[in-house]
């Protein structure tokens, strides 16, 4: 077995960043805790670098349970990069908070858990990673300790706990049927197992994954947490864990024996339900964060499409990986605008284009990106997703996705329209009151979505 810690260098970098950050946070004056953010960022940058180097090496398996393959590479880079941006967003928002350094550390740990979730090659690692990825999230959700934040934390926690336990029971059941917990052995072990029991185990396992992915029926926490928690945390919990969840889902799709469970149909139904529910519920939202929350649910539905056709189309994997990255970037950009503006009502965005044209443009690019307008990155992702669905003989799912994409235009436009009104809303902050850092990140991500869309060939080639 391979127990070379160098294979886990990216994770170790981030862990080191977290630990060093935690320790130094203990000795830093309150106003200078940003140093922790710098340390964490350094860890993330090192992690990204290490992941980039690792991506050039052949696929391997570390510690018998940590798969290192393109999925892991992409997940690592996406998670760490997204976390890096979120650190940037947070740096302005939680400045000089008594728990500022803990905030950064928790984010780093959650990111670490997400990567482990994505790379897990063993159900038990998956379960442990679930804990690691979730627990900091609960704390982050309640970080503000206000009424809404704590309620969000409670809901997040209760949903996470229940679905985690259901997932654990699924793990147990699959273990009992397959005599092992590692994917490789399960692949053989499950092939002769009774189909019904495998199906129950898979669905139970799906519970935890759906929770992390924000997919039906594990989506209930998404809107409430997104609205209740602070915007930065909302950004984090709707962006980063999904990356890990879809990677894990895709891996599990490869574990299941053909014929035992109609996995494609199961995921397709979940996907269709997720995207439809997310879109419908987003229609009449007045709160931009709730709107974005439902938008992330519908995006999760689209992301499930390549998972459904995993193994049935060569396009499935590139579609998933690209879409995940594109989604993370675009979603982050939209939330960054919310962080920068600091307002939740749709009407409060009236006249943003006048006051902060670049920020408004970024918002438009990100929202249209979420719609799937070329040449943004999500378009390329959606294209691959449609292609994978049609190629995998799930054309009906592609059609459902198309209809949903069109329907989603509604609520994105509901946000875009007031932005271009001439009269600024009464609650719109002055140009000077916008969070500069967040605004810069918003603009940067908007540019990056365009660049990633136009340069999607380069991204897909690697």
């Amino acid at each position: 077995m391979n127990e070379n810690p160098v294979d886990l260098l990216p994770e170790l970098c981030v862990l080191a960043g977290a630990v060093i950050g935690l320790l130094s946070g203990l000795f830093l004056p309150r106003a200078r805790q940003w140093v922790v953010a710098v340390i964490g960022a350094a860890g993330l940058v090192a992690g990204i670098g290490a992941a980039g180097v690792a991506a050039t090496r052949p696929d391997t398996m570390a510690f018998d349970a940590f798969v290192i393959d393109p999925i892991t590479h992409v997940s690592r880079i996406a998670v760490f990069a997204a976390t890096l941006l979120i650190l940037g967003l947070a740096a302005g928002a939680v400045r000089a908070h008594p728990r500022e350094s803990e905030f950064y550390v928790l984010i780093l740990l959650a990111a670490l858990g997400t990567v482990a979730f994505a790379a897990a090659g063993d159900l038990l690692v998956l379960m442990a990673a679930y804990l690691l990825a979730s627990i900091p999230g609960y704390a982050l959700a309640g970080f503000g300790k206000d009424a809404a934040g704590t309620e969000a934390a409670l809901k997040y926690y209760l949903m996470g706990a229940l679905l985690g336990i259901v997932m654990l029971s699924g793990v147990t059941l699959l273990y009992g049927l397959g005599r092992a917990t590692s994917y490789e052995m399960l692949r053989d072990g499950l092939s002769g197992a009774p189909a019904g029991a495998v199906a129950v185990g898979v669905v139970a396992l799906l519970a935890g994954l759906a929770f992390k992915a924000g997919a039906v029926p594990g989506h209930f926490w998404v809107p409430d947490v997104t609205e209740g928690a602070s915007p930065v945390v909302a950004t984090f919990v709707t962006t980063v864990p999904k990356i890990g969840a879809f990677a894990a889902l895709y891996r599990i799709a490869g574990v299941l024996p053909r014929g035992a469970v109609d996995w494609p149909l199961l995921i397709a139904i979940v996907a269709a339900a997720t995207m439809t529910l997310g879109n419908l519920a987003a229609f009449a939202q007045d709160n931009v964060r709730r709107l974005l929350a439902y938008s992330t649910i519908s995006q999760a539905g689209y992301l499930l499409v390549p998972v459904a056709v995993a193994g049935r189309s060569d396009l499935a994997q590139p579609a998933l990986l690209f879409y995940v990255g594109a989604y993370a970037l675009t979603n982050l950009g939209s939330f960054a605008v919310v962080v920068a503006v600091g307002r939740d009502r749709l009407a409060d965005y009236a006249g943003l284009a006048r006051r902060a044209p670049l920020l408004a443009l970024s918002l438009v690019i990100c929202l249209l990106g979420l719609v799937g307008t070329p040449p943004t990155a999500v378009f390329a992702g959606k294209l691959l997703m449609f292609g994978a669905a049609v190629d995998g003989r799930y054309t009906w799912l592609a059609v459902v996705a198309v209809v949903n994409s069109v329907a989603s235009v509604f609520y994105y436009l509901r946000w875009i329209v007031p932005v271009f009104e001439t009269a600024p809303g009464p609650h719109l902050p002055e140009a000077g009151e916008l969070l500069r850092g967040a605004a810069m990140i918003a603009v940067g991500t908007a540019v990056a979505t365009l660049a990633l869309g136009i340069g999607s060939g380069v991204a897909l080639a690697t």
Binding site: L315, L383, T395, V402, V409, L413, F420, S456, L460
Partner: protein, 496 residues
Amino acid sequence: MLTLVIFLPLAVALGLLVLPRLRDTAVIWVWIGACVVDLALVVAIWVGYDGGIGYETDVRWIPSVRAGYHVGVDGLSLPLLALTAVLFLACAVFSLRQTRRVRAFAALFLFLQTVCLGLFAALDLLLFFVFFDLSIVGMYFVIAGWGHGDNVRSALKFFLYTFLGSLVLLLGFIGLYLGAEPHTFDMADLTRTPPLNGSPGLAALVLLAVGVGLAIKTPTVPVHTWLPPAHTDAPAAGSAILAGVMLKMGTYGFVRIAMPMLPEPWRRYAWVVIVVGVVSVLYGALVALAQDNLKRLIAYTSVNHMGYIVLAVGAAGLAAGDVDARRLAVTGAVTQMVSHGLITGALFLLCGVLNDRGHSYDMDRYGGLARVAPVFAALTVVGAFASLGLPGLSGFIAEFQIFTGAIGSGTGAAASAAAVAILGILITAALFLRVLHRVLLGGPGELTGGVTDVRGSELAAIAPLLAASLVIGIAPRFLLDVIEPASAAVVSLVAR
């Protein structure tokens, strides 16, 4: 060279956005300058074009799905590129008096120009689609941002409707991609070896998706209802571009994508296309006849005019027909795209003049405008006659070829359909005369007093469009020489 043509406007747009302090007039002059340069480049391309696919650029873009930045011009795209450059220049000149958020307006139009040029030059399905979709986004903002009346709703309707069409089109493209062996989005490859040759059912479905997507954009009956409100509430320049250039994206798609890449199902379902075309012709004309709103009326005549094109491309798909006649029909269709762009562009700009003065499109509130605005009246008369297909103007050249080609192909279906469609020109004649009578001639109406004649910039924008129509109407060879080889190619491709 071609890439420069395509992206020059975008570069200028970005420059306009970035450059901090430019006065509004200066912005528009920069805009006009960019359009002039672009037009000059297109003319240079036209002059230098010598058959086949010219000015080709093929750069890998998304190699994993074999999509590339592949652009080039041929006899189908060159006229439309030229049309695009001309119309955008006209709109820029027309907007000299624009005062509302000029910089954004100019940037948006330059962006749209890049999009439209890119679409017509694209030789890759994905690239085509990118531009197709972006055109919707750009036009949405034009309507929502600078429109009038119920513009937000119209813009939304436009966006949703055409966006749905574009996604259906995307599904069709994906079908083409997956049907090709090896999988590719490259139009040249797809044209060379039509995909899905072995599976007629799938090919028919793909054609359905592509056809519906393009039909919505074209638009044909019954998926045309986004058009009237979008036009009515759009600013004049926006309407001109929407009708003049963007409707062509649909019909261009038929000759560029649907026919050469899906020849077998196209032939099989040509009769459907023909029926849709004929219905569009008659329906569009009749509904236009009943309109009181001038802009809506012109919008419906667009449905009618696009119907001729659809009829022609349908007739070209009836393989039993005479080859030369079918070529004539396709040539007519492409000519009609150019012609309609010029004429309708001019008419919409004229509508803009009217609305600028009277703030209404209601024809019954005007009357006798020839007295107070003789130049406006003269331009409108020329535009109206051009639109109703008067010989000597471009519409006739196009429609005559379409009718003659469709009937002359000799198949009973095409001939009878075209014979019925001829009724369209009669109804169009009647309705345009009604327009002239209600708006220009006769006694003055309630709003006539406030109408002043066209100003210099407006005249400079509109007159060249009509002059171009006149030139094509009298001496069409320079245009037809370019189109004919391409339409011959299309006909031979669809016959495979």
